[in-house]
């Protein structure tokens, strides 16, 4: 279903991707930017591992953070052990330990839980996530309780003792390159997996498990193997996150983290190979940037999530692909002309909504502080009638635009059914 770049275009994509990863620190060199980029890389790998389940096998999981979180804990425990001097292990290989922890836990619990796909698996994965999260709270010796477990990532030698002593993994840029290298290697590995018979079977299980069983394969076993593979890559991603933050907490196992990776994959689009990567980059960037400017960022994320589910079934990547097809066919003008009122109306409605949200937020949460709300560079008083009427006017304009655009334009390229 998902068209894969083969041959020369594929190699060109790999070269460009590696070059971007290698040169990015030259443009964005501050500690904050390097940390953000490391976070994006780890999140992209996490989203790719999730898409092995959702996009490839059709398994919707609400507890995927468990595998990443346990991978993170494995890395932190190894670092703490090295700090105690009991053994030595090259730090660059720590993510493998995280991956083994994730795959091991998936192998442990996966057999009974993957018996069925679809909705039952979704609910079971939710319960497993809650189970592990609750158990982590009960075992402070292993999981560090409320504050989590911290460790020093320079506790061991980066490679082997004596080899490249300049690489200590202390500076942010070292961690960034480690994260980028692991992400690139795992992305290529996941892409190569796409050509194996197992992945083809997984796609068949996604589309019609009954038929797969009929021709003699066991869908349960395919789901189980896919969960272990996905758990491995999630564990690698979790290990990278833990190395970056030097801490593992019970939150990294929780429902919020599981929801974030689901959001990233759906927003990016699970039908294309690089969709989850795009989603992870966009979601990480916006959650960090939005949380610096507005307290209501989680509400915006939720609204964006709902809007993508409703309007863009293929996610951002699917939308871009459809747009590229329109341009290639020379129909972009016609398409835009038919929808111009709807688009303008939707934009006005979004502006009105965000204005109302910001004003309401200023009223409720900063009631004791200065009565001024910044909105795109303008300072507004949340208790004055004027900004509220502006929000109302924008909403009315938006509704008028959407109403004008109704029924215009025939349904030009119907996006393909989402691959889940």
């Amino acid at each position: 279903m998902s068209p894969r770049p083969e041959g020369r275009p594929f190699l060109a994509c790999v070269a460009v991707g590696l070059a971007v990863l290698a040169l990015a620190p030259l443009c964005f060199g501050s500690g904050f930017q390097l940390g953000l980029m490391s976070q994006m890389c780890a999140m992209a790998l996490f989203a790719l591992s999730y898409n092995l389940l959702l996009g490839q096998t059709g398994m919707l999981s609400f507890g995927h953070a468990v595998y990443a979180g346990l991978g993170g804990y494995a890395v932190i425990h190894l670092l703490r052990g090295m700090d105690g001097g009991s053994f030595v292990y090259p730090t660059v290989l720590l993510p493998v330990a995280g991956g083994l922890a994730g795959a091991g836990f998936a192998a442990l619990i996966g057999y009974p839980t993957t018996r069925r796909g679809g909705t039952p698996f979704a609910m079971i994965s939710l319960a497993i996530g809650e189970l592990v999260h609750a158990a982590a709270g009960m075992l402070p010796a292993w999981f560090g309780g409320e504050g989590g477990l911290a460790a020093d990532r320079t506790a061991g030698p980066a490679f082997v003792a004596g080899l490249w002593p300049g690489w200590t993994l202390g500076p942010d840029v070292h961690v960034y390159y480690l994260t980028a290298a692991w992400t690139a290697a795992c992305t290529l590995a996941i892409h190569a997996l796409g050509r194996t018979p197992l992945l083809k079977l997984a796609n068949a299980v996604r589309d019609n498990p009954q038929r797969v069983a009929f021709i003699g394969y066991d869908p349960h076993r395919v789901r189980y193997l896919m969960l272990i593979l996905s758990g491995f890559f999630a564990g690698v991603a979790g290990g990278l996150m833990a190395l970056n933050l030097e801490i593992a907490s019970a939150d990294s196992l929780g429902a919020l983290r599981s929801g974030m990776v689901l959001l990233a994959v759906v927003v990016g689009g699970s039908g294309l190979f690089l969709g989850p990567v795009a989603g992870a980059v966009v979601v990480t960037f916006f959650s960090v940037e939005l949380s610096r400017h507005t307290g209501a960022w989680q509400l915006y994320l939720g609204l964006a999530f709902a809007a993508v589910v409703l309007v863009l079934p293929g996610g951002l990547a699917g939308g871009l692909r459809d747009a590229a097809r329109l341009v290639a066919r020379g129909q972009s003008r016609e398409w835009l002309g038919a929808r111009i009122w709807t688009i303008l109306g939707a934009l006005a409605a979004c502006a009105g909504l965000s204005l109302a949200i910001e004003l309401a937020y200023g009223r409720v949460h900063d009631a004791g502080g200065p009565a001024a709300v910044p909105w795109f560079g303008v300072m507004l008083d949340p208790f004055a009638p004027l900004p509220w009427s502006a929000a109302g006017a924008l909403a009315v304009l938006g509704a008028a635009g959407v109403f004008l655009g109704r029924g215009r334009g025939r349904p030009v390229p119907t996006p393909e059914r989402c691959d889940v």
């Binding site: 059709g58 919707l60 609400f62 619990i109 009974p112 839980t113 018996r115 069925r116 679809g118 909705t119 039952p120 979704a122 609910m123 079971i124 939710l126 319960a127 497993i128 809650e130 189970l131 609750a134 158990a135 709270g137 009960m138 429902a255 929801g259 689901l262 759906v266 209501a296 989680q298 509400l299 994320l301 939720g302 609204l303 999530f305 709902a306 589910v309 409703l310 079934p313 949200i357 309401a360 937020y361 409720v364 949460h365 059914r417 989402c418 889940v420």
Partner: protein, 319 residues
Amino acid sequence: MDGLIVSLLNGLSYGLLLFMLSSGLTLIFSMMGIINFAHASFYMLGAYAAHAVAGALSPALATGAAFWVALFIAPVLVGLAGAAVERLALRRLRGRGHVAELLFTFALAMIIAELVQLAWGRSAVPYRMPAAWGEALFSLGGHAFPVHRLVVALAAGLMLAGLWWGLTRTRTGLVVRAALSHPDMAQALGHDVPRVFMLVFGAGCLLAGMAGAIGGSVFVTEPGMAQALGPIVFVVTVVGGLGSLAGAFWASLLIGLLQTLAVGSAWSLAAPASWLGAADAARALADWPLSRVAPVLPYLLMVAVLAWRPRGLMGVRET
């Protein structure tokens, strides 16, 4: 012994509250195949709506009267909100399969949690039950059984009876059941099946709102209440069997009793271990009384049920 009886009654009352939630979820699932991830959010909306309605009415009415009026108005408001969600969003997604619907309800849960904080702040609101509910109905050997436990049980019992009557004894219920088993045939016979779906979704949300209006006053009304109860309700529906109302009932009671009894229990696996002669294991296990592992018991029960009987206690179909 007396304490055990009161604990049992408390467990039954909590289980019936769980049933008020799981019945709506089961109703929606068996009808539309949608797992409504926002179900516990509608429970939270019910509590906040009742608080808001009671607050708005309190100047005009006595506090007690305002509370009772809110108890009836808030669920209706929540039901209307649910019907609107179905009409405006879920109906558009029906052709795209259940995963899209599931994802939308998941996003909706995020949005409702944030909107509630936007409207009522991040801390708990003072939505309290009438003082009379807090008094002891009776005491057994010094263990009090408060009135509100009985109110919860009565409300759940009334709701169960109403649901049964509506589904099996009315013409609407007949159409609903027809649309449940054979939607295409019901549509062909001239019934407006999409409208029936909207009705069922709204009714399920109304039940959740009612549970919230009562549960919020008995426990606490705060933005985390949906997140705290949601997973338990899903465990109940899976243990009972997806889509089975009777299964949801028995599983609600089972989990209500399990949680209530485990929290108050000092029993641990140490005693059986010492009978078997494993002294070291007994000492280690003595640190883990049942009360300490109570939070994970429902999830362990769910895993056990799934390993033993994948479709749940009384489930009839697998998906």
